[in-house]
Symmetry: C2
């Protein structure tokens, strides 16, 4: 088996650090760039450097931001609703934003509480969240963490914090997705969809 030159080997190895990139794809990417796409490779290298050096977390909501305060937090219209939605990751925020139905603020945990893995409240920004609750007078805090063990532990911890402030706490509904076929939905989701069922007509009242 042939060996690659050291820098080619290094490039293939580095591509393999990316999620979903195996040895074959890594080699294909490296060859693709060296063969005829060196400009694109240089652009990617500089975009990586720029992003990693200049993108931090918004002081307010902990979303990715190049300034102290992110675009969303600087948007005064978003403050009118007096709502704050707690999500696990920037990708979750993006999913909610692409829905286009929520117009309040966010707070991003970048993880979930997991004492066994050493992830404590300060690692997911809970002191900052408490500070925001104390200072900004929200009317509603919406939990959008996933319904897993860690998600529930985190949600309960946040509920305890929220009790110290006059804020209504809610949690997004989990259940069968629209258009989803019941037979393919997992048991956990089905259980939550039954637990969260709503009364359509109440015979006792009629």
């Amino acid at each position: 088996m042939m060996k690659f030159s050291p820098r080619l080997e290094q490039l293939i190895q580095s591509f393999q650090l990316m999620p979903g990139v195996g040895p074959k794809s890594a080699q294909r990417l490296a060859f693709h760039i060296l063969e005829r796409h060196r400009d694109e490779g240089i652009r990617l290298a500089s975009a990586l450097e720029q992003a990693i050096t200049h993108i931090g977390l918004c002081n307010n909501c902990r979303n990715f931001a190049e300034e102290e305060i992110c675009l969303l937090c600087s948007d005064t219209k978003r403050g009118i609703a007096k709502q704050i939605c707690i999500v696990e990751s920037p990708a979750d925020l993006l999913a909610i934003e692409s829905g286009g139905h929520y117009f309040g603020r966010y707070f991003i945990l970048h993880g979930l509480l997991s004492p066994l893995d050493g992830i404590e409240p300060e690692d997911i920004g809970l002191p900052e969240l408490e500070q925001r609750l104390a200072e900004e007078g929200y009317q509603e805090l919406i939990l959008a963490t996933s319904p897993t063990i860690e998600g529930d532990v985190t949600a309960n911890f946040i509920i305890e914090i929220a009790k110290r402030y006059q804020v209504h706490v809610s949690r997004i509904a989990h259940g069968v997705p629209v258009g989803g076929e019941l037979e393919y939905v997992d048991g956990m989701t089905l259980a939550l969809s039954f637990e969260g069922r709503r009364t359509i007509s109440d015979s006792k009242k009629s």
Copy 2:
């Protein structure tokens, strides 16, 4: 729909320049790196820069190399067989090397002749190939270009060059792969497998 900050947008765009990376995967890669894998991102950026800056083509065989002459061309054992195999790309060379049955030299075209696309003999290193044939006294030149129109045009051009030197020219066999099911093999490959059929027993001679 939410906008990304400029550098995050730039990073997502740059990932999309890579083959097989769509908008969703590009976003996932960018978030993955910024979320908890910044060190890996920096490693990839520097590996890209190092590779693109320092990897050129071997003066001899045109394979990727960091020195004037690649590892394979510096290996004197590879010269004993006096064979030179012509391949289209470094990936093709790698495929042959991983087979472990060929011990001669290589010459990499980095493309195929295509006058309509403006790809001329000098773009695929044919003057350099002629120089090697003139200077190195090969006994056999093995064509491993693909059996497409461009591959055939290129092969014929190389055959013409080879006629000026005392070198036996051969072409690798194309046909049904070992373990391949006949019904799934394309017509072109089947046609080549019939054309390249070998006599097992010859009734006229018996």
